[in-house]
Structure formats: C-alpha cells, structure tokens
Amino acid sequence: MTADNEHSAFDELVLYFAGELAAGDETRVEEHLMGCASCTAASTEIVGLIEGLRSVVPITITSRDVARLQAAGTRLVENEFAPGERKEAFWTMDTDLLVHRLKVDLRDVDVVSLEAKDEAGKSFFRFADVLADKRDGAVLIACQQHLVAICPEPDTVFVLRDGTERVLGEYTVLHRFR
C-alpha cells in the first residue's frame, strides 16, 4: 500500500473502485485522489473501463446472460443452429440482439475457440478461448448491430474448434432484415 503522499498503484485503484479497500485505506485513497491530477487521470481511465464493462454485451454469452438481458428488457431473438446448418436469421425494427445458439458436443472439451469468416473463407476475427455453455452444449453468439464494423458481411460462417484445433462445428448464419 502507498503512503499518504505517494501515488496510488493500479491495483489499489481497482480495489478502491471495486469497494474492497479497508475503511482507512479508502479514506487515504480518496483524500489523495481529490488533490492529484495524475491519479485522477489514471482513475478516470479505470472507471471508464468499468463503466464500459457494466453495459458491454460480449460476443459469446451464457444462458444466464440471456435471462438477465431479457429481464432487463432487451428485445432478443434466439436462433438455434446444428453443426453444418446454413439458414437465415432475421433482424427487425424491434430487435436489439440476435442470439445464435450453436449446438456443439462439449464433452471432454476444455477450451473452445471461435472464428468468424465469410463464405469465401476470409476471416474477420478469431478468439482463442470463448465462453461456452457446457450444460446446454452450446456456444451462444450475441450478434449486435454495432459489430458490423468487424463482421461486415451479412453471411457469416462461425467455426468452433477445440484446443487442438479440431473443428467442432461450422455454422452459416445468413443475416437478413425484415
């Protein structure tokens, strides 16, 4: 921990904003922050991250997240895809989120990677270790309109692989509007 006149370390600031500092340390950090421009700047960046995390919907989510989003009023439409399936998924004016439930056998699978590419094989992104719903046997893709910046084609192929690069399933989602 830092002395009164020393700047607060990153870890201490995170503990402060998470509400996990002892009362005396919290008071010390607050008194320091109120008078220190550089720690204010560092804290502003941390808090900006935390604020972002409060509202971000990750690219892969769990069934618990789906329930929470629905309870909060998010208008979502779920589509289920079997391995190898190619079918349409529809956006409407009343849809906030599409959830693509990619069914996959996750027995004996510890790590699942996700790749998104177009049907010609051009890769948009690849994540090495995504959230997977083992109980449900599915990876849930939260498809959000702002992600068109990284996934520009309406027809998207999602590829799931295990930690040895073995393909667990390929799913082609044809995004359409109606």
Binding site: E51, F125, D129
Partner: protein, 194 residues
C-alpha cells in the same frame, strides 16, 4: 508573481495550484470567472470519480458534480472557505455530506444544473465513453475465465468471495485474475497487444 498573472482563455496556467485559483474568486479580479472555470474543470473529474465509487450510477454522478461545484462556487464567492490551500478537503467533505444526505433521503439535486448554468458557465464536461466495438473485441481476446471474472465483478457486482465460490478458487486468486484482465483490456484499448 503568480497573483499578477491575469488568466485568459489562451493563458491557462497549469502551474497555478487549486489554492491559487481559489484565491482569485470573490475578489472582483478581472479573471475571476476564468479562475472559477479552470478550478471547476480540474475538480469535476475528481468529484465524478468519488460519485461513481459511492453512487454507482452515471446520472447520479453527474448530478453530484453539479451540486458540489455549486456549493464550492457559492462558498468561494462569499469567501466562506477558510483554508484555500486545502480546497480539496473542502470539496471532499462536501461530497461526503451530499452523498450522505442522498442516502438518508430521496433528495436529488435535480435543479443543480440550471443553477450552475445561471452562474454563467458550463463547467462540467461528460467524459468520453469507451468505444463499444473495440471493448467487445478486446473482451473477446481475453481468456474466457478472465472475461467471466470481469463481468461478474463489475457488471453483476459480485464480490470476490462470491465469484471464488462459483469458479472453485480463492478470493485472492479472483482479485489477481481481475486486475490482470483489466490491465490487459486497458492495453488493448490503448492499441497495444494483450
């Protein structure tokens, strides 16, 4: 020497302390309003951080910033602040009083914004939000365990103890994972590698 410098929009003086700026308020000096504006712009982010920690709500934080700055400006103009070199203590004390009042009653300073604007300046700038798409991608680059810890910690506001029970580890380990993941996100958002 510092007192003889007249502040203008083009000569914002970073070496002037908060106390130096506070001393110009309530004196009728030519640059009194400039000093107020600079002081408020410096203090607004610090008040906001305190508010976000204790109120956990962005709109409430904005209200608290307005309310505290109103109290400060009125006190400075009326020359009621005793120790101008400890203006940070005055502001922190005001933050604590107003947050405590908010907890005790349903009072919110809804009229503070109008009052602040009536003082002649718009002092409070909303901070820029993190780029949502970039954050989503940077999150995706994290190992799934780190993603879960961050979301459970900050979105779901679960304690390290609760998360540790869910994930079958210790609270200390959860804090290590959380801090490492936040640092990785920060580097990614700044444009560096994770």
């Amino acid at each position: 020497m510092k007192d003889s410098v007249v502040l203008t929009e083009d000569s914002l003086e970073p070496s002037l302390s908060d106390g130096d700026l506070a001393r110009r308020v309530g004196t009728g000096a030519l640059d009194e309003r400039q000093a107020e504006a600079i002081l408020c712009r410096r203090l607004a982010p610090r008040i906001r951080l305190y508010a976000l920690r204790h109120l956990r709500d962005s709109a409430a934080a904005t209200d608290l910033v307005q309310d505290v700055l109103i109290v400060l400006i009125e006190a400075l103009r009326a020359r009621r602040v005793e120790n101008l070199d400890r203006i940070d203590s005055f502001v922190l004390g005001t933050c604590r009083n107003l947050v405590s009042k908010q907890h005790r009653t349903a009072w919110r300073g809804a009229t503070a914004k109008n009052k602040l604007e009536a003082l002649g300046e718009s002092y409070v700038e909303e901070p820029r939000a993190v780029d949502r798409t970039k954050l989503t991608v940077c999150m995706g680059n994290l190992p799934s365990r780190e993603q879960r810890v961050l979301l459970l910690s900050f979105r779901d506001e679960e304690s390290a103890e609760q998360i540790a029970r869910e994930l079958g580890t210790t609270p200390g380990n959860i804090r290590v994972i959380r801090h490492r993941a936040l640092a990785s996100l920060q580097r990614c958002l700044r444009g560096g590698e994770q």
